[in-house]
C-alpha cells in the first residue's frame, strides 16, 4: 500500500467506492456494537472492524451478479457486496424489514439480489455451497464467478478440503479468500494448522495460492481480479490468503467478559497501526489520486447512512409472531406436520 506504483491502480470511481464500502462496514459495525451493548441487538455478533479491506477489495473485484458466500464474521461481506445498510441493521435487530425478515439475524445475512448467498454460523459450512454456485455458473455457462470467504480456523475443517478439491478437479470458477486474522477465537493459527501459511495448502489442490496483505485493499482487489479472470477463462479456482486482524474481540460479549490474554498488547498495537481505512486514505492522498474533500464527503455521507440505518431499524416493527410458523417449504398448502396443537 505504501507503494502505489507497484500495483495497477483502478480508476477513480472504483477507488471512491472502495473507501465508501470500507467506511460503511466500519460505521455499520461501530453502531452495531453500540446497539448490541444497549440490548437492541440480540444474540451473538462478530464484527469485521479491522478486516474491511479484504471484504471490499475482493467484492469490488467482481461484478454484482457474481456470487459471494461468507462466514460468522458476517457484516462486512454483504456490505462489501453492495447490500444496503438499512435492511442489514434491521435484520440485526430482528425486525420484519430486515434483509431476512428477522429470521436470519447477524450470522445469516444474505441478499440474493446482489449475489450475497449467505453468511454462515457454522464454520466452513458455506464453502461447499460456494463450490456449488460455481458449478452452477459453469453448467449454465453464465460466466459468473464466486468469492468464497472463510477464516483461518476454517482451513482445518473437512469441508475446506472437500471444497477446494472439488473446485479444482472440476475447474470451477471459485476464488477462495481466506481472511487470516491469526486466530480462531483464542487459538493461534500455528496451534491449529500443521502449515501456518494457508496459501501453502493450495499445493494440495494444484491451484495457485498467494498470501498477501489483507489490510491493503488494492492488493486484495488486484489479486482477486486476476483470480476472477483466470476463473472466467475456465482455468479453475485460486486460493488467496489475506493477512488481516480483527480490532475487536472474537464476538461481542459485553464489557464484563474477557476472552483472556491470548493476544499481546504489542501485537494489537502493531495491527491497529495498520488500519485499512487509514492506510488507504493516506496512500491515495499521498499519490494525489483523490482530493481530501471527496473522501471527507464520503465520510459524511456514510456516517449519515449508518445513522439512518439505525433509525430505520429501530423504527421498524418486529415481525408478527405468526411469521415464525411459515416459510419452511414453498408449498404450505398442507400444514406443516408439527405445529403446536392449540389446546385453547
Amino acid at each position: 500500500m505504501d507503494d502505489l506504483q507497484a500495483v495497477a491502480v483502478p480508476e477513480t470511481g472504483v477507488l471512491l467506492e472502495m473507501y465508501r464500502r470500507m467506511l460503511r462496514i466500519r460505521r455499520f459495525d461501530e453502531r452495531a456494537v453500540d446497539r448490541h451493548g444497549k440490548g437492541e441487538i440480540p444474540g451473538p455478533m462478530h464484527t469485521s472492524i479491522g478486516q474491511e479491506a479484504t471484504a471490499v477489495g475482493a467484492c469490488l473485484a467482481v461484478n454484482e451478479d457474481d456470487y459471494m458466500t461468507g462466514t460468522h464474521r458476517s457484516h462486512g461481506h454483504p456490505i462489501a457486496k453492495g447490500v444496503g445498510l438499512d435492511a442489514l441493521m434491521a435484520e440485526l435487530m430482528g425486525k420484519g424489514s430486515g434483509v431476512c425478515g428477522g429470521k436470519g439475524g447477524s450470522m445469516h445475512l444474505a441478499d440474493f439480489s446482489v449475489g450475497s448467498l449467505g453468511e454462515s454460523g457454522i464454520v466452513a459450512s458455506a464453502m461447499p455451497v460456494a463450490v456449488g454456485a460455481a458449478l452452477s455458473a459453469q453448467i449454465r455457462g453464465s460466466g459468473q464467478v464466486v468469492i468464497c470467504f472463510f477464516g483461518d480456523g476454517a482451513v482445518n475443517e473437512g469441508a475446506f478440503h472437500e471444497s477446494l478439491n472439488l473446485a479444482a478437479v472440476w475447474h470451477l470458477p471459485v476464488i477462495f479468500v481466506c481472511e487470516n486474522n491469526g486466530y480462531g477465537i483464542t487459538t493461534p493459527v500455528d496451534a491449529a494448522s500443521a502449515v501456518p501459511v494457508v496459501a501453502d495448502r493450495a499445493a494440495a489442490y494444484a491451484m495457485p495460492g498467494v498470501r498477501l496483505d489483507g489490510q491493503d485493499v488494492l492488493a486484495v482487489y488486484g489479486s482477486v481480479r486476476e483470480a476472477a479472470e483466470r476463473a472466467r477463462r475456465g482455468e479453475g479456482p485460486s486460493l488467496i490468503e489475506a493477512m488481516t486482524y480483527r480490532f475487536r474481540e472474537h464476538s461481542e460479549m459485553g464489557s464484563n467478559f474477557s476472552f483472556g490474554p491470548y493476544r499481546s498488547d504489542e501485537e494489537i498495537a502493531e495491527w491497529l497501526e495498520r488500519d485499512p481505512l487509514v492506510l488507504f486514505r493516506t496512500a491515495v492522498l499521498e499519490a494525489g489520486l483523490i482530493p481530501a474533500v471527496e473522501l471527507d464527503e464520503i465520510e459524511t455521507e456514510v456516517d449519515a447512512e449508518a445513522a439512518a440505518a439505525v433509525k430505520f431499524a429501530r423504527r421498524s416493527d418486529f415481525p408478527p409472531p405468526e411469521q415464525a410458523y411459515v416459510g419452511l417449504y414453498l408449498d404450505e398448502r398442507r400444514e406443516p406436520a408439527s405445529l403446536e396443537l392449540d389446546y385453547a
Binding site: 456470487y67 429470521k103 436470519g104 444474505a110 459450512s125 455451497v129 472437500e162 416459510g327 408439527s338
Partner: protein
C-alpha cells in the same frame, strides 16, 4: 403401461426428468459407470451425469449451492448412511436456507439414498437413517415401495421446490411392476391405502410394506381384516389417512424396519395417541428393528426386521381381546 423393476423405475424417473428439464443433472460416485440406478444415463446425457470424488459432504453441499442458483441436482449418495458424512450440509444448508433467508431462495435438491439392510451388509452399511432426518425440519422425506411410486415420486421430488431425500429400499430393487408414463407423477405427502379392512390398521414403511400385505393376507384367512397403509412420504406425513383409518379400526400396528427409539413408528404412534385416542381400543404396537447395531452374520441378522410373523403377532395382540388390560405392561 410398461413393466419395470423398482431399480429400472428409478433410472427411468431420472432419465425422463433429465429430458424434460435441462436444469436437472445427476451427481454421485461412479455415476457414469453402469452399476446401479444411474446405469445407462451417461450414454444418453453425457456431462449432465457427473462422477464425484469421495467427498459426500462437499458434493452434497455443492449440489445445494447449485440448487440455490438455478439448477436441479439429483445427488446419488448410494449408501443411505452416507447421510452421516453429509449431515452438516443437509442440516444447515439444505434444510434451513429457505426459512432463514426468508424465502429468498429455494433448494430444489433431490438426494437418493439406498438402504441395504437384511443381506449381511454389516454394521457400516445397513443403517436406515430416515428417522433422524425426520427430526430435521425443512427436508421432505419419501420412501416409495413400488416401481410406480418410486418413479412417480422421484419425478415429483425433482420438480419440488424444496429438498427431498428419497430412501430407496434395496430389498425392493428387483420387484417388478407397471409404472406411469413421462407425464405421470405421484404426489409427495399422500399416503396409499393398499388394502381395506375393519379390525386393525397396519401402517408399514419401506421394505415392511410387502411384509405387511403378506401379514394382512394371513390375518384375512383368520377372519381379521386390516387396513394396510403405505405412507410413502414420511415428511410431510399423510396424518389424515392414518387417523381416519384408526378412527375406523380402533387399533394400530406400525411396521418399520428402522431402529425403534424415536423412529417413524414412534411418531405415528404419538400422533394417533394424541389425536385419535378416543377411537383407540388397544395398545399401539410398534414392530421395528431392535435398537441394536446390525450384525453381519445371517444367523444374527435374520430376525431383525419386521416380517409377516411379527406383524401378525402384533395384530393378534391388539385384536385378540378388546380388553387392553391384557397387553399393558406386557414388557
Amino acid at each position: 403401461m410398461p413393466e419395470l423393476t423398482y431399480r429400472q423405475a428409478i433410472t427411468a424417473a431420472m432419465a425422463e426428468e433429465l429430458r424434460r428439464d435441462e436444469r436437472v443433472f445427476v451427481m454421485g460416485e461412479d455415476a457414469r459407470a453402469d452399476l446401479w440406478a444411474t446405469s445407462g444415463l451417461y450414454a444418453e446425457f453425457g456431462d449432465r451425469i457427473r462422477d464425484t470424488p469421495l467427498s459426500e459432504l462437499g458434493f452434497t453441499g455443492a449440489a445445494i449451492g447449485a440448487a440455490m442458483t438455478g439448477l436441479r441436482p439429483i445427488v446419488d449418495l448410494q449408501i443411505a448412511q452416507l447421510v452421516y458424512n453429509a449431515f452438516e450440509q443437509i442440516a444447515n444448508q439444505a434444510a434451513k436456507s429457505r426459512y432463514m433467508y426468508n424465502g429468498q431462495v429455494s433448494v430444489p435438491i433431490v438426494i437418493r439414498a439406498a438402504m441395504g439392510y437384511g443381506g449381511s451388509s454389516a454394521a457400516h452399511h445397513s443403517d436406515r437413517p430416515y428417522p433422524m432426518l425426520m427430526n430435521l425440519p425443512g427436508i421432505k422425506i419419501i420412501c416409495p415401495t413400488t416401481p410406480a411410486d418410486v418413479k412417480g415420486m422421484i419425478k415429483s421430488a425433482v420438480r419440488d421446490p424444496d429438498p427431498v431425500i428419497v430412501f430407496e429400499d434395496n430389498n425392493l430393487m428387483l420387484q417388478k411392476g407397471e409404472v406411469g408414463g413421462p407425464e405421470d407423477v405421484v404426489p409427495i405427502g399422500v399416503g396409499k391405502l393398499c388394502r381395506i379392512g375393519e379390525d386393525v390398521t397396519i401402517v408399514a414403511i419401506a421394505g415392511a410394506v410387502p411384509r405387511a400385505l403378506e401379514a394382512a393376507d394371513r390375518l384375512a384367512d383368520e377372519g381379521i381384516s386390516a387396513d394396510v397403509i403405505d405412507p410413502r412420504t414420511l415428511v410431510p406425513l399423510d396424518r389424515d389417512m392414518i387417523l381416519d383409518s384408526v378412527r375406523k379400526t380402533g387399533r394400530l400396528v406400525v411396521a418399520d424396519p428402522a431402529n425403534r427409539t424415536c423412529g417413524a413408528a414412534a411418531e405415528i404412534s404419538a400422533i394417533v395417541a394424541e389425536e385419535a385416542f378416543a377411537a383407540l381400543r388397544a395398545p399401539i404396537r410398534r414392530v421395528t428393528a431392535p435398537d441394536m447395531v446390525v450384525p453381519f452374520s445371517p444367523a444374527l441378522e435374520a430376525g431383525f426386521y419386521p416380517d409377516a410373523d411379527k406383524i401378525v403377532a402384533a395384530a393378534h395382540s391388539v385384536v385378540g381381546g378388546h380388553d387392553a388390560e391384557v397387553f399393558a405392561g406386557a414388557h
